[in-house]
């Protein structure tokens, strides 16, 4: 179980995430919605350690992770994908994934601190990376460098890296943004499949309400950094604050 307590960050005078306390049980997919700039990505950044909280704590299964650097949190089981694509642009698609697979390894080849074995000898890593690429339908381009991929494929790779980490908590930040209607289902199917594993916790930031409606077990709403609604999807979507501030229905 992932839990944040009074998680807060200030940028100068601006409070981007304001005392958000929330816990996420395994086996549920929680959608996080809210207007642009509500603090969704920032909230993810605080959980995964890219930003240091001004106050509050993050804990996973009761273990406090607040002081840890991002790498340690990832190893503890917090995995995330980024909203704006953030990959290793001049390495091949396969190597990108392989690096992520390697990062999860324990034992003698632990996280690449091994200076003396030969990388390509680790066949297991390659096989696993291949499997993941097949899952996101990127196998055909595995030897291309990431920089030459179209935008949509880069978004898929972003998700592939997250899958490779095999975390306990998956944080998706608008995984299908910029992906066309034919491709998005590949990713959504993946997420659906993940949902079936009851040990996993999934957090999903998404602006497409049809997707949210279909996938979410629970929705929380962030607005101006604050947690303003939390509950059943239907009920939350119907709430006035979502209708007005987010969907802009009142105006229309």
């Amino acid at each position: 179980m992932l839990e944040t307590r009074d998680l807060t960050i200030r940028f100068g005078g601006h409070v981007a995430v304001n005392a958000v306390s929330c816990s996420f049980a395994s086996g549920t997919l929680t959608a996080i919605v809210g207007p642009n700039g509500a603090g969704k990505t920032t909230y993810f950044n605080l959980i995964s350690g890219q930003l240091k909280a001004s106050a509050g704590t993050v804990s996973l299964n009761g273990r406090d992770l607040s002081g840890q650097p991002p790498s340690a949190r990832t190893r503890a089981g917090l995995g995330r994908a980024f909203q704006l694509t953030n990959l290793f642009p001049n390495l091949s698609v396969l190597e990108n994934v392989r690096l992520a697979v390697q990062a999860t390894q324990e034992g003698p080849h632990r996280r690449g601190l091994n200076l003396w074995s030969i990388w390509s000898d680790h066949q297991g890593l390659t096989a696993r990376a291949d499997a993941i690429l097949a899952e996101v339908a990127l196998k055909a381009r595995e030897h291309d460098t990431v920089a030459s991929l179209p935008h949509g494929d880069q978004r898929k790779l972003e998700v592939a890296l997250l899958m490779a980490l095999e975390p306990q908590v998956f944080m998706f930040d608008e995984p299908t943004a910029g992906m066309n209607a034919a491709e998005a289902p590949v990713i959504l199917d993946l997420i659906r499949k993940l949902k079936q594993d009851k040990r996993k916790t999934i957090l999903l930031v998404e602006h497409k309400m049809d997707v949210v409606r279909e996938l979410a077990d629970r929705i929380i709403v962030l607005h101006n950094g604050q947690l303003v609604a939390d509950g059943e999807p239907a009920q939350v979507i119907a709430s006035p604050i979502v209708q007005e501030a987010y969907l802009g229905v009142a105006k229309a």
């Binding site: 990959l87 290793f88 601190l113 091994n114 200076l115 990388w119 980490l165």
Partner: protein, 355 residues
């Protein structure tokens, strides 16, 4: 074979041919190219291959731009120089010198590696530039220890000194003496060190370094503690540079601030990495050979060119050996123009295109 090269094969037929030629050329240099000058050039090539390869680990693989690399080169050379001149010629002196130098390099590179995390890339580069120049000043100021500007001249163990002759008659034009043994000592050392580096860059560790070079932020996010890898790379590269410095001192039996610490050498290293192709150790080897040979024979070449054009005064003024630096400068500019991805990059791209 493939294992010896850590499965990092040349991936281009031409590249393979060049590398083999290079290896054989260096292995038989004393017999193929007789003469003192040729042997000196070959030895310098050998030292520079190690030095540049060690720098490539830092620059090409990890993406850290540091101008302080000659500092470690200098430490290695001074280690041997100071120990040999204080303790007298001998293997113990060598061991002590190299050991002390490695220890000092370790500490300094650790500090620098950690500091590199505090400031961003270009600033770090400029700081190392300043630190390196300060270190050079320091080396010439501590003259009671380092011989100051004048440097130190010292002797090597008998076995690898020129005075040691193990056969009267020259063999294939090369005199069989300690100098020859010394050359082979360096050559074997260089081969071992380069293979070790090749192993390191092709290990899981090496791959993480490349990931950090590409996108440090993401490398951290997928679970690699960037500080650890970066610092380790900085330390390793410093240690290899230190060894290269020791090799230089062993060969020259002399060391001084200009010989191993000067900014000029740093720039040469940079140029070699770029000519050869960043992020490929093979590039370091080819680049080093090309550059050192060009640099050593540039003046001779110009002398010939100069004689050819003596009739045309202004041409002669440009082609005089005194203006060899002009041509070196041009070499800098042109190689950046024509080898954006280095020689290795070029060759590999050709091989790919052919496929």
């Amino acid at each position: 074979m493939s294992r010896v090269l850590s499965h990092d094969l040349p991936r281009s037929r031409w590249l393979a041919v060049i590398l083999v030629a290079l290896l054989l050329g260096l292995a038989f240099a004393p017999f193929l190219f007789p003469g003192v000058k040729a042997l000196n050039v070959a030895a310098k090539v050998v030292v520079f291959v190690v030095l540049v390869a060690s720098f490539d680990l830092l620059l090409g693989y990890t993406g850290i731009v540091s101008f302080a690399h000659t500092m470690f080169f200098g430490i290695g050379a001074y280690g041997v120089a100071i120990a040999s001149s204080r303790m007298g010629a001998g293997w113990e002196a060598l061991a002590v010198g190299v050991g002390a130098a490695l220890a000092l390099s370790f500490v300094l590179s650790l500090a620098i590696g950690l500091f590199s995390l505090r400031v961003r890339a270009i600033f770090f580069a400029m700081i190392t530039l300043a630190v390196a120049s300060a270190f050079q000043t320091l080396a010439s100021q501590l003259s009671s220890f380092t011989g100051g500007e004048d440097g130190l001249t010292f002797k090597m163990p008998e076995l690898i000194s020129p005075s040691f002759e193990f056969a009267e008659e020259p063999f294939l034009g090369a005199s069989l003496d300690g100098r020859l043994l010394c050359y082979y000592l360096l050559f074997v050392l260089a081969v071992v060190l380069v293979l070790a580096l090749l192993r390191i860059v092709n290990s899981p560790f090496g791959r993480v370094l490349q990931a950090i070079r590409e996108n440090e932020f993401r490398a951290e996010a997928i679970g690699y503690r960037v500080v650890v890898y970066r610092t380790t790379a900085a330390v390793l590269s410093a240690l290899f540079a230190t060894l290269a410095g020791a090799m230089l001192a062993i060969w020259l039996r002399y060391n001084g601030p200009d010989t191993s610490l000067s900014f000029e050498i740093m720039v040469d290293i940079l140029l070699i990495v770029v000519i050869g192709g960043m992020g490929t150790l093979y590039g370091a080897a080819i680049g080093a050979t090309l550059f050192v040979v060009a640099q050593s024979y540039l003046q001779d070449l110009l002398r010939m060119a100069n004689e050819a054009v003596t009739g045309v005064p202004w041409l002669a003024a440009v082609f005089t050996p005194d203006r060899w630096l002009l041509w070196l400068g041009l070499l800098f500019v042109l190689s950046v123009y024509h080898f954006p991805t280095g020689i290795v990059g070029r060759l590999r791209a050709r091989a790919l295109a052919r496929r």
